[in-house]
Amino acid sequence: MDYPIEILPNATFKYIDCDLATHFLLRIINTRDINEFWDFETNMLKIAHVCSPREHIQDLSMSLLGIYRPQDIFIQLTESGKIKFNHYCEPDANVQVPVFEEEFILNEDRHHWWVPIDKLSNRKFPYERDSHPFVATCMVEHSPMRWNFWHFSLKWKTDLGNLEDLPEKQKKNVARRIAHSARALIAKFAIIESPENLILPRNCYCKN
């Protein structure tokens, strides 16, 4: 089994600099049983499969659909593969190709959901009527990793500054509200039907 080298960082690559509003992000779920992650009553993603535990919402790993294809979700790094490849890197980093069974395996007990980027990026959640008012903003960032150039991070910022610097009780309240907003946002907009696979023009991610 060969690793799909088109998803690896490459000396000719740069950070993606095109508008991605019409594109989709994909997130892997560690089960292939649709009943486990999809709520057929409301036809929405189950909250536990947005992210669990809650802390993961601060940096939720996703991949940009396009060159990264749905079948790539089955790639799972082994423990030694994680040590070597599971790190953020520059888009043009020089990385080796992971070796099958040593550094990655295929795990077919997986599924995925999609979410349109324009429903997430720069979405603001004003908690203005709270005792400690603030505004949370959802950020979509291209964050290449040594195993996946198409890796994206869903992050959150607030107008209160660094979450860690807030007083303990306020920090807990703000973290709860961010986690709630994030779960609601993703449950609202996540889909499981395959969207149109838009391939980015090369000039969006290749130097010159």
Partner: protein, 196 residues
């Protein structure tokens, strides 16, 4: 809670054929309908509840005015909650199940007041109930945190979307959030037919 009450609570299954329930716990709809009803000495038979108001006379039962759909939704939510509570026993270690179930009834009752088209819940690993509600073109996400700290009141957070637009975000005590939810939804949703 007194031990004898706890024993009674554990004895009773809400889904059992002749389960009866005190109106002051479940009849918030009735409370809107008429103030006098809330002081009735009668008890409510869920299994007989067809949405029509009747007095069963000799049995001393009063039939609640909640719609049958509402009751079915409640039973489904309650069943789902109880199952998930059992599966997440470690999250609620040291908490009294009866108290948790009573807390769930408060938030689910508030939610069912807005007559959702669809509703489901998930118990999260942070000890909260996360409700997803659909009513027409509105999606409501209501989270009730069941484990309070330092004798603080229970917390809740609500997020509302109309179509794709986020129109409400609010966090606070459960009471505050329920009150705001009621202000937001009930003026548009109380229909005379539901209460007559």
């Amino acid at each position: 809670m007194p031990a004898e009450l706890s024993a009674i609570a554990e004895d009773q299954s809400i889904l059992s054929p002749h389960y009866v329930y005190e109106p002051d716990i479940i009849d918030s709809t009735i409370a809107i309908h008429t103030a006098t009803l809330s002081v009735f000495p009668f008890r409510i038979a869920w299994d007989h509840n067809t949405g029509m108001m009747q007095n069963a006379g000799a049995e001393n039962f009063l039939i609640a005015t909640n719609s049958f759909k509402n009751n079915k939704q409640f039973i489904k939510l309650y069943q789902s909650f109880s199952e998930q509570l059992a599966m997440n026993a470690d999250v609620f270690f040291g908490e009294n199940n009866y108290t948790l179930q009573e807390k769930m009834k408060i938030s689910s009752d508030a939610i069912l007041k807005i007559f959702p088209d669809k509703v489901s819940l998930e118990v999260t690993d942070e000890g909260s109930i996360f409700y997803k509600i659909i009513k027409g073109d509105t999606s409501i996400f209501f989270e009730h945190f069941l484990i309070a700290e330092d004798d603080d009141p229970d917390e809740a957070i609500i997020t509302v979307y109309q179509n794709d637009e986020n129109i409400l975000n609010l966090g606070g005590s459960l009471t505050e959030v329920i009150n705001e939810t009621n202000k937001f939804f009930l003026p548009h949703n109380i229909r005379t037919a539901d209460f007559v």
